[in-house]
């Protein structure tokens, strides 16, 4: 039963809550009628939710559903426009994160709250974290004298979790804590959460990964367009059959079939020229010569043909990002690179782009979006010098506005407000903006760096479709990803990168998952 519509849902919610109050200890946190409005956008809509001691509550919802907003309100980052929160039975209206911490609420933020220039130890000290067993376990593989900046993305995420867990809070809020973690690290985190459960401490777990939510949560709450739309709990320790469909339905609205039916779209179009199409990209013994990197690509050779998606899987920081930049002309290299027969060795990003190379950055906020500029401007970027956008160096305002409106509609960017600063978009919507502006240029080769990172399932599908459409149109795609399953799911051929070296490239259909994952960890 998917709960759609306003009233009944709240009634049912209240009922459930009352029932639970009877059987469980009283809620640690009780949220009633919380609404948050950002200049017209209802980010949280009349939310009612309780969290009991020892409970692990999963919070799911598509990009922009309002999960992080709720976390922000509970963390004291922002005040609700309306509504009441109680913690331990007392009214709670934090002025700052400090107030929330005092009440025993600690948060690992979606985008982290670390100081790049501090060492790991200094960072923990800053956050008043005691160095206990839990911390030592979580950080056991980390060189603690290194600065946060020098850590890999995954290590940073672990540290962010440790920073919050280390305060042994009554309530731990985790906003997408596993987006860049490896399986073993996720398991480590789950151990910590289980310990907390047995100690009677509550955890709120925001994620886009249904599997993880089902594995660890005692209850799953689904948000959609700011409101809580569904709430599920296992019966007798097991999730009932069809739970996934129900979750997806609640997350994305009426038609869960849209999520599974897309498999066809993401697979190669029958009759597309894959594998034997013309050579789009040819790379011979390329050595990255750009600014210092933890691992720079060395001796990379690669041929990519029209119509195929080639995935390069690797743990974050093994040199895939650098390789992506080399292949899009953003980092200099030695060796031979040619696109559609045009030699591009020694050329810059503009020549690469001129030859039809598109690039989807892996650092959306850092180097993708211009946060304080409008969605329109962000959609325009990279094309601003093209015919349709300008005449004699003067921007064609109307044409640009219309193009923006079209793309906002076509990609379902939300909120559909062309003038809104792009920095206020949710991650998924930012990615749509960046994808939209790459795809209108109809790239011959699209280099996509971790394009689904942080995206909800539907957005992930949307991205996958977009990549496949490039291939189906006769272009080629290089998909750099930290997620081996994604690599296997989306690609035609796959290779692994480890310590700057590229493994042999083979057809995905014949790939051995276990072997590839070993390669990712230790090389070959």
């Amino acid at each position: 039963m998917a709960l759609i519509g306003g009233m009944p849902q709240h009634a049912g919610d209240a009922e459930r809550q009352e029932r639970r109050d009877g059987e469980l200890s009283p809620d640690l946190i009780r949220i009633s009628g919380v609404t948050k409005i950002y200049s017209g956008v209802v980010a949280n809509d009349n939310i009612r939710l309780g969290v009991a001691p020892g409970e692990v509550v999963g919070l799911l919802g598509e990009n922009g559903a309002g999960k992080s907003t709720l976390i922000a309100i509970l963390s004291g980052l922002t005040a609700p426009s309306r509504g009441l929160i109680e913690v331990g039975g007392r009214s709670f209206s934090p002025n700052s994160p400090a107030d929330a911490l005092r009440e025993g609420i600690a948060t690992a933020y979606q985008h982290g709250a670390l100081v790049p220039t501090l060492s790991v130890d200094e960072q923990l000290h800053l956050a008043n974290v005691e160095d206990d067993d839990t911390i030592r376990t979580l950080l056991r593989e980390m060189d603690r004298s290194r600065t946060v900046r020098e850590l890999s993305v995954g290590e940073r995420q672990l540290l962010e979790i440790a920073r919050a867990v280390g305060r042994t809070p009554r309530v731990l809020l985790l906003d997408e804590p596993t987006s860049t973690l490896e399986a073993s690290q996720v398991e480590m985190l789950f151990d910590v959460i289980r310990q907390r459960r047995s100690a009677g401490r509550a955890t709120v777990f925001v994620t886009h990964k249904l599997g993880e939510a089902l594995a660890i949560c005692d209850r799953i709450v689904v948000m959609r367009r700011g409101a809580v739309v569904d709430e599920l709990r296992p019966t007798a320790g097991n999730w009932p059959a069809g739970t996934e469909d129900r979750l997806l339905g609640a997350m994305f609205g009426a038609d869960p079939g849209a999520m599974t039916g897309n498999a066809a779209v993401t697979k190669r179009r029958p009759g597309a020229p894959a594998g034997n199409g013309s050579v789009v990209l040819s790379v011979g013994r390329v050595v990255d010569t750009g600014p210092a990197a933890r691992h720079r690509p060395v001796g990379v050779s690669l041929t990519v043909r029209a119509g195929e998606i080639v995935a390069i899987a690797g743990i974050q920081g093994q040199g895939q990002r650098e390789l992506g930049k080399v292949l899009a002309g953003y980092r200099p290299c030695r060796g031979a690179v040619s696109v559609n027969g045009t030699a591009l060795s020694g050329k810059g990003a503009r020549e690469f782009a001129g030859a039809g190379v598109g690039y989807l950055t892996g650092d959306r906020r850092g180097e993708g979006i211009v946060a304080r500029m409008s969605i329109t401007a962000n959609l325009l970027l990279k094309r601003q010098r093209e015919e349709g956008a300008q005449r004699f160096g003067i921007l064609r305002a109307r044409a640009i506005r219309e193009a923006a409106r079209r793309e906002i509609a076509a990609w379902g960017i939300r909120p559909p407000d062309p003038g809104r600063p792009a920095g206020t978009l949710s991650g998924g919507n930012m990615q749509k903006v960046l994808l939209a502006r790459e795809l209108v240029r109809e790239p011959v080769l699209l280099v996509a760096d971790n394009p689904t990172h942080g995206l909800d399932v539907r957005s992930q599908v949307r991205v996958a479709e977009a990549l496949r459409s490039v291939a189906n149109r006769g272009g080629a795609v290089i998909l750099l990803t930290a997620d081996l399953d994604e690599a296997l799911r989306l690609s035609d051929r796959v290779a692994v990168m480890n310590a700057g070296r590229l493994s042999p490239l083979g057809p995905t259909a014949a790939a051995d998952r276990a072997e590839l994952s070993r390669w990712m960890a230790v090389g070959w």
Binding site: L77, T78, A113, L126, N128, A371
Partner: protein, 313 residues
Amino acid sequence: MDLSAIAATVLASAVLASIPLMLAATGEAIGERAGVLNLGIEGTMLLAGLVAFRVALDTDSIVIGLLAGPLVGLVVGTLFGLLVTLARADQVLVGIGLTLAGTGLSGFLFREWYGDQQPLLDTGSGRPLASLADHVPVVGPALFDQHWVVYAAMIGVLLLGPVLTRTRAGLLVRATGEAPFAVDAAGISVWRVRLGATAMAGVLGGLAGAVLVVVELGFFRPGVTAGAGFIAIAVAMLGQHTPLRVAVASLVFGVLQGLGPGLQVAGAPVGSDFPRLLPYLGVVVALLLARHRVALPAALGRPYDRATARQDD
């Protein structure tokens, strides 16, 4: 002509002249470390210098005068800090305002208090190690023939190095300039850290003004700092916001500044305008050489606003 005597004097005088610069630049460095760019040190130095002068004259005590300077600096720095944190005022605007107001007020009060009189303080005494100066050629006076305040200031500034790197207060300051959101998220009030840092910067700026007026010159004149407050901003950056390096940079600046008159007196046909360029060109060259190490705190100049912080991280 005794070139070594000239060199010795140039150096000794450069050391003395570098002390106010060093103090002010260290203060600026601390403020910048916390993310606050203070263009108002010039004004702070002048106000504090004037008050220190008056207090020293009235009490007939250099020490009390020297204490008055930092006190004024504390008040001014706190006011500045409150404006740029709680009031979220623009740092550049308030800084320029402070310089204008401080320059104006100190000049105005000086005339109100002293009319066209120009009292002078005694700056000749208080040199505990002077007797050692003759035993060391050339650098003897620079090392030993100095006022005790010079030594005290140097030790104080050098001690601030470990304070920044080793103490929790230092940690908070450094973190706040880089990632205020992370500090906020750690449950620490960003504005309090910044207020503390600007107050400290004010204290050091005030002390700089007091030392300039009471120890180096022995008198106040309207505008007596002659731009030292701005040079301090450059020196703070050149010194990579570390007290030790700031001290070295100030010293080098002082020596380059003294080199001009040194060359003129030694009879080099350089005129007076070209040697005066030296310290400024020197700073540019030094920056060029040290370019890989000069990084500004990431949040420098940005008022911290929790509502937008998450987008900026």
